[in-house]
Symmetry: C2
Subunit: 131 residues, 2 copies
C-alpha cells in the first residue's frame, strides 16, 4: 500500500518535472513542519510569472483544504510576489489548477470536488500559458 | 556531535526566519536528490526582488563549491527569474552573501574563504537592502 504522503510527494515531483519540461524553473518545499513559517508545496517561475502551489493528491472525489492552509498560501504568495494556486490531482486524472476563490467555502475549510475542478479548473498547459 | 547536514538545516531555518522578520517570504527546498532538477537551498522574495541562495554552513575557514553546484544554481536562477547568491556562515559568525562571480575559481570548483567573504561579502541587511 502506498502511503498518502509518498503519493503526494510523487505527484509533486511529477509536477516539478512538467514545469522544467516547459522551460519553467520549479522547486519543492522542505516538508511542512520544517519551520513555523508559511510555505507552499511547490514554487515555480519563468522569468515573467511566479506561481506558488498548494498540491493535493486525492483518492476520493473531493478534498478539504483547511482555512489555515489557505491563509498560509495566500500570505506566502502575497509577500513573495507570486500567484496563489491550488493544484489538485484526482487518481487516474490529470492535474487541475484552481484559483483559491473558486473553491467552495464551508465553516472551517474550503472544498474542492472533482465537479468544481472540471468546471473551474485549468489544465497545466492553460495555467502556465496564462489563460 | 552535530552532523553537518543537521547543522546546515539549522542554518537554513535561521535564514528563513531572518527573511520573514524582514517582511520577505522565504522557503527551504526539499532535500537535494528529491528530483534530478536544479534547486537552490532557499528561495526568498519581497514582491520586488527574488533571491535564490545556495547555503553553506562551514566549520573550517573555507569552503569549496563544485562547478556543478554553481551551474545548477545559475540555471535555476536564470530560468526562474531570481538573483543567484551564495550564503555562507562560518562557525560563530554572521551570514555573508556573495555573488557567484566573487568566488575564486579553481579547476574543479569555486572557493569561498573567510577572507574573501569578509572582503566581498554582504551582510544579510546589505543583501536584502540591495547594496
Amino acid at each position: 500500500m502506498i502511503r498518502t504522503k509518498d503519493k503526494g510527494s510523487a505527484a509533486e515531483r511529477e509536477l516539478i518535472h512538467m514545469f522544467w519540461e516547459n522551460s519553467w524553473a520549479a522547486m519543492r518545499a522542505a516538508g511542512s513542519g520544517s519551520t513555523q513559517h508559511p510555505s507552499p508545496d511547490v514554487i515555480a517561475g519563468n522569468g515573467m510569472r511566479r506561481v506558488a502551489i498548494e498540491c493535493k493528491s486525492v483518492g476520493d472525489d473531493k478534498k478539504y483544504i483547511s482555512k489555515d492552509e489557505m491563509i498560509q498560501l495566500l500570505l506566502f504568495s502575497h509577500t513573495f510576489g507570486a500567484e496563489a494556486w491550488i493544484g489538485i490531482r484526482f487518481s487516474g486524472r490529470k492535474w487541475f489548477f484552481l484559483n483559491p476563490e473558486d473553491l467552495s467555502e464551508t465553516d472551517k475549510s474550503h472544498l474542492v470536488s472533482e465537479k468544481i475542478a472540471e468546471m473551474k479548473g485549468l489544465s497545466f498547459e492553460e495555467m502556465i500559458n496564462g489563460f
